[in-house]
Amino acid sequence: MSAPLEHDYIGLGLAEASSMEIASEKLTSSSSSSSTLSTEQNSCNNNNNNNSNTNNNTNKALLDFKETELRLGLPGSKSPERKPTNNGVSVSLFGKDIENSSSKVYSLSPLKNIVSGAKRGFSDAIDGSSGNWGLSMNGKSEADLCKGAVLYSPRGGGLDEKNKIIKETSVLPQSPKAAQEKKKNQLPASNEPASAPAAKAQVVGWPPIRSFRKNTMASNLAKNNDDDGAEGKTGSGCLYVKVSMDGAPYLRKLDLKTCNNYVELSSALEKMFSCFTIGQCDSNGLPGRDGLSESRLKDLLHSSEYVLTYEDKDNDWMLVGDVPWGMFAGSCRRLRIMKGSEAIGLGMYHFFFFFIEISVKNPFEV
């Protein structure tokens, strides 16, 4: 084991930085991630030897030593020589993100060096890394370590602010004043949309949209989120979709969550539209649907004039019954009981025994 170079507070030197990348990947998955600060290099070395060269090469390509070098400094302050990093190209010490090139990358570990050279406080490094490093110094639990770290951090509660800075994307080198202003300006723009903003620094007045429009769109979003299912959006606990039937004077709403399979769905629909089941009334005018026997069902099915269809998320009209129930419930936005003549292309599926025998002159039609 080479002597630790007198560099930075985690005691890593130039040579070790490149192997850190590989090491960290191992660390996340390996159970023996009992690397203390001082023995980090040990495992690094071991892992380095164990790793294939290809790994080394690809990772080296991604690494720039200066980027990965950890330096001391107050949180939020900058190292002047830091290179700016662009969108999507984030350098992380812990390998988790290298594969992940999606724009969501910065919602992960706060240890990203996206802001050029922003120094992190001790607590930042520990907090963020607790999952990765598996630090267990001398048997202390991670929690204890974090607590200890907070004590050392010059800004104990400042993690949020650091996160805000770190969440900035594609920042060119700025003058310190501009950087400060940016930090200050990270107040949420007034009347943010109801959905959580993405991990993006919210600069005052950008993008340039007037408050009237922002407010209107925000209330649109809120409406859609609260709305009990005109779009069929899944809320917690209920999923109301509109059910229309060709020829009926009004629509109904049905909560898909009350049904667990297609059978229950059809009986629910049956109940709803039973008032139109004229053909099924027996002689004393009462609907004779109770105890619909299998054979009778089949009779009705084969002479069915109606087909049950649904509109899915892509606004396509689909035949009900093709996909597993869960998939159906997740993508169904609206139901429509379609007249058989229109549904010729869909075939006469008998999966749904729900249909109506209506005489030519439907007194309910207006």
Binding site: V171, A189, P193, N220, A230, N315
Partner: protein
């Protein structure tokens, strides 16, 4: 001599002739000919348009033009729309109203944009002008719906009531009930800004009385069913803004709604359509034959819905949509709207960059299909230089090109280069360009192009762009017609600011915020150019030498007296 005879027209004749000059630019020109014409113009001028309320004082205005009937006033700098200007900055209309009440008792029209209007001012207005006819408040603030009660009650001759995009505290919808039962003169009625529910019966009666009503823009609280009733009463409408366009209708009700729209054969402009869904949108198809302006920017429509709708709008000239329609929707625009002149695409969720929205493909498709396109406002996540070059090749007549790449300093996403060449192509190809908003990663090169080629450019908006003072210098030295320059978050400092010394008096205004300008630079500017107001808005936490926000404008009224503590006039 021969020449003097031709100048001795009686004044009355001159006045008569001048009344036919509708454009104020023309009037300004004739007033420069000679003293007689100057006087004839000033006595006969009835309409004034003051683009910066601090460039002139009420007294100076009244002295020159004693017979004005129609006033348009604009107040705050445009970046106040984006919360960059403190709320107490100024632009209060009250002093103007007091002066007008004294000297323009016959005032009939007042249009305000970005002014502060209090309830007391609205009441004062309602009481002071017996002949008052037209009120338009656009992006104003300071009043509540209580102030509107006074307007409704006392302006007996009102023909235009236009409340648009203001910051209004909406306490209740009762203001509408203050119109008297005999009041019937409205031609333009726009309250789509307000949110409270109004008394629908009162609204219905009002609409039925106002036979000359041409423009009706209701607010979101008006339901589809209610709208239908209004349309039956006013089939002559030319401009319509609907309320909420979603309600559970039966098939029969839908057919009725459709036939209602069918009767409105004069509709040229349609907006609102809040919460419109594929189910109800078809109701408007019968009214779309003559549609020239369609504002769908409050309806989150998808590409299919838009496609179907546009098939019914062959005459469309101006279209505003949300980016929910996607590139596919814009392809439909390209195929269905050959007469399109203006396109605005707004972001549905500007703070979520995982939403695809629209890309360069969408605007490309529109440019291929709509050669007459000359106004575009486009919000997107990313673009390429090549795409923009092709777009302007297809549509070389752009007069307004406003591109907003929402991620600051975003380069060309294919080549990773700055977007300099894109805007270079724009200014080189579009010789008629008057207004330009740039975005994306830009170096000084972009501004070199602008300075060199944008000879008709009047308004330029810059954000997060440029590499050095040179960028702004190129613009100041190069663009002869520049009138309004708005800059934020750019590395332009004192040298850049001072490079425009000779230009600022011919410009309306300059705004620079979060740049590198210092107080000393501003002081020097103020000292050298006494006919400019150089105002600095200080943020609380900045240091003393830094000029956080600078607003420079020409004025004949001297430094203003009503600036708040955060604003320093140097």
């Amino acid at each position: 001599m021969e020449s003097t005879r031709s100048l001795s027209f009686p004044d009355k004749v001159l006045h008569r002739v001048f009344t036919h000059l509708t454009s104020n630019e023309d009037r300004n020109s004739v007033s420069l000919v000679c003293k007689t014409w100057y006087n004839a113009d000033r006595l006969s001028r009835s309409k004034v348009f003051i683009r910066n309320c601090y460039s002139v004082s009420p007294e100076i205005l009244i002295r020159r033009f004693p017979n004005v009937r129609c006033v348009t006033l604009k107040g705050k700098p445009r970046f106040s729309d984006f919360n960059l200007v403190p709320p107490d900055w100024g632009a209060d209309v009250h002093a103007w109203l007091v002066a007008f009440a004294d000297k323009y008792p016959l005032l009939e029209e007042l249009r305000l944009k970005r002014m502060v209007v209090s309830n007391a001012s609205l009441e004062f207005l309602a009481f002071s002008f017996q002949n008052f006819k037209r009120l338009s408040l656009f992006i104003c603030d300071g009043f509540t719906t209580d102030g509107l009660e006074a307007i409704a009650s006392y302006c007996k001759n009102l023909t235009e009531f236009d409340i648009q995009e203001n910051v209004v505290e909406d306490t209740s919808g009762s203001w509408l009930s203050y119109f008297s039962e005999s009041f019937a003169s409205l031609e333009v009625f726009n309250f789509s800004n307000l949110s409270s529910e109004v008394d629908f019966d009162a609204l219905e009666r009002l609409v039925s009385r106002c036979k000359s009503l041409k423009v009706l823009k209701v607010n979101r609280s008006v339901s589809l069913e209610q709208l239908q009733k209004l349309l039956v009463l006013a089939p002559q409408l030319v401009e319509l803004c609907t309320g909420s366009f979603s309600q559970e209708f039966s098939a029969h009700q839908f057919v009725e709604l459709e036939s209602c729209f069918n009767n409105c054969k004069n509709i040229q402009s349609l907006s609102g359509l809040f919460d419109a869904t594929a189910q109800y949108l078809p109701a408007i198809y019968p009214a779309c034959a003559n549609l020239t302006f369609l504002n769908l920017s409050y309806s989150a429509l998808g590409s299919d819905e838009l496609d179907e709708l546009l098939m019914h709008c062959p005459r469309l000239q101006r279209l505003w949509v949300l980016d929910t329609v996607g590139d596919k929707g814009l392809e439909s625009v390209g195929s269905n709207c050959p007469l399109l002149e203006e396109l605005r695409v707004f972001p549905s969720d500007p703070f979520d960059d995982t939403i695809q929205g629209v890309t360069e493909a969408g605007l490309l498709a529109v440019s291929f299909g709509c050669p007459r396109l000359h106004y575009v406002l486009y919000f997107c996540q990313q673009l390429t230089n090549a795409a923009v070059a092709t777009i302007v090749q297809n549509c070389p007549d752009f007069t307004h090109f406003r591109l907003c790449i929402m991620n600051p300093r975003q380069p060309d996403y294919l080549t990773n280069e700055p977007m300099d060449e894109a805007f270079g192509a724009v200014v080189k190809t579009c010789t008629k360009l008057q207004r330009l908003s740039v975005s994306g990663l830009l170096t000084d090169l972009a501004f070199e192009y602008i300075g060199k080629h944008a000879k008709n450019l009047e308004v330029l908006s810059i954000a997060f762009a440029g590499s050095s003072d040179r960028g702004m210098q190129c613009v100041m030295e190069g663009c002869p017609k520049i009138r309004k320059l708005e800059i934020r978050d750019c590395p332009f400092g004192d040298a850049a600011l001072l490079s425009g010394l000779e230009k600022y008096e011919s410009m309306r205004s300059l705004w620079m915020s979060s740049c590198n300008v210092t107080m000393d630079g501003c002081r020097l500017l103020a000292k050298t150019m006494p006919r400019l107001n150089v105002e600095v808005i200080k943020d609380d936490e900045s240091d003393d030498s830094h000029a956080d926000k600078v607003y420079v404008y020409r004025t004949v009224a001297g430094p203003r007296m009503d600036s708040p503590p955060s604003v320093f006039t140097l």
